[in-house]
Amino acid sequence: MRRVLYADMFNVFKNKVFQGSIALTVLYPLMEALLFKLIYRFLDAELPGEDVITAYSSIASIVITATIIFLLVNDFSDGAIRNKIINGVKRNHIALSSILTGAIISGLMCMSTCISQTIVIRFLTTGFSSLNPRDVSLYYTAQFAVSIAVGVLMSSIVIVFGGTIIPYFLGLVIAFLFRVANLMVTDKLYPQDGHVMITGMRLLIYNIYDRFCPFSYFTGTLNHPLKDCFIGCGVLIAISILITLPVFKRKELK
């Protein structure tokens, strides 16, 4: 499988969409910091690091989803997957290599964002007032784990549905729905004013979502121990792989 993964990564690094996505993850924190700095100047205030560190997480799931789906769908439509099967690569290896490629792409995108954010925070902000270096490193670790889990999920969707329009539609719908769910859950569990107003089963479901759903960690704050984040990511990765491998093994390709 190593040779297939090596070949897949060669393709990814040569791809303009991947290069563009990495450029976006590097430039986005910078552009947003410059915009915020302008707004804060009008307000006669200094830009805190906290505003920059959470900037990318709001769009991360959409950017990761779009990039991975675009890259892997092309593998199907260009006949690359077909070519691997013809050349005697095991289907499990092809699927696992694609999933790993998705995880590596999203991991690299997250890393480039973190590096860019750190540089931007160092030079364009006043630093953190409520976060210490440990909090920041925990936050980055959670973002990295969640990015990989989302990358695995999106890769699995492409492998299951092949080179059609369905992965684009399904992937972006999932990313959008979780974004809406995040806003809903944050609003109910961490209200700006007053107390938490939900109770019973609803509160339990919201809490479980907030603690264990990887997408909930794209809200920009780390409200739970890293262990919960890892459990959620691990479960999502395991489910994605367990569904994808048997489906792809039986899949009839054209």
Binding site: I86, N87, E252
Partner: protein, 304 residues
């Protein structure tokens, strides 16, 4: 006789549509097998089964002597190169990078043969041009180069001359012949351009409605399609003696019929046969083209 591929009663159905209907065929090692059939006859479906993209609904096949149920068959597939329908190419890469990609995927130890391959298919001077900007013919040639990576023993080409200009067709044809003769690579070439296939193939399989209607060697096909006179006589042994004496090529079909491959002077022939006490009942000139032979195989003029 050693066979690269042997299919036995293969059937493939998609919901209510039967694409292959009890297909059996044999591809000899070292042959160029022309796989002939109209659109929708089942050519691409068979290639998909052969290459492992799909599984048959029933029936089985052997590839390099390994049965479909043999778990080691997947390793044998590494000895295959194929261009199925459209070449599998990365459009954002150059021709060279596409070959590097294939080399990496096959786990080949070095890129040493890469430039020779590009030269072989006439793409050595494409430089940094991306495949996205290649013509259809250039893509076909690159697809063939990708299929050639790793020195395969068996190459499957689905409509390889699609989109090629006449010069490109000649180049691809000569390349296939060269690879077959010099490296002993076996080819399965699916096409409905019979004239082109007839310049290449050493063996033919004619497919219609998911079944092989006829398998034959190029020589047998040439004989079928040669200009000849089919004679019905009282005794083909006497016919054979007369033709031997006259130095004329012939083939005896059965006790009454024989094909004679020459322009005959009918009156003179009748005179000689009369002398030998052999009666000629009928003499019929036959000049069957490859196309008309194919049409006669798959059911006549309804397919014309």
């Amino acid at each position: 006789m050693e066979y690269i591929f042997k299919a036995n009663n293969l059937t493939k159905t998609y919901k209510r549509f039967t694409a292959l209907n009890g297909l059996s065929m044999n591809i000899k090692r070292g042959s160029i097998y022309g796989f002939v059939g109209k659109n929708g006859a089942g050519k691409t479906t068979l290639i998909r089964l052969l290459t492992g993209l799909q599984k048959p609904t029933s029936g089985t096949y052997e590839l390099f002597g390994k049965d479909l149920s043999d778990p080691t068959l997947i390793k044998e597939r590494r000895r295959i190169g194929a261009v199925v329908e459209t070449p599998a190419l990365y459009k954002d890469m150059t021709a060279r990078d596409n070959l590097i990609q294939q080399y990496l995927m096959l786990g080949l130890p070095s890129f040493a043969g890469l430039d020779d391959l590009l030269k072989l298919v006439g793409l050595a001077d494409t430089g940094k041009k991306k495949v996205r900007n290649f013509s259809l013919g250039m893509r076909q040639r690159l697809g063939l180069a990708v299929a050639l990576c790793g020195d395969p023993d068996f190459i499957i080409l689905d409509e390889p001359t699609n989109g090629l200009d006449p010069q490109g067709i000649i180049e691809i044809r000569e390349l296939i012949l060269k690879l077959n003769r010099e490296k002993g690579i076996t080819f399965l070439i699916s096409s409905h351009i019979l004239d082109e296939l007839s310049r290449l193939a050493t063996d033919y399989g004619f497919i219609d409605s998911g079944r092989i209607v006829k398998e034959m060697s190029a020589e047998e096909l040439r004989n079928e399609c040669r200009k000849s006179v089919r004679m019905k006589v009282s005794d083909t042994k006497i016919l054979a003696k007369i033709m031997d004496d006259m130095g004329i090529e012939y083939s005896v079909l059965n006790e009454s019929y024989a094909d004679v491959y020459a322009d005959l002077n009918f009156s003179k022939v009748a005179e000689i046969f009369a002398k030998e006490n052999c009666t000629i009942f009928t003499m019929e000139e036959r000049d069957e083209s490859l196309e008309s032979f194919y049409l006669s195989l798959i059911g006549g003029e309804e397919h014309a």
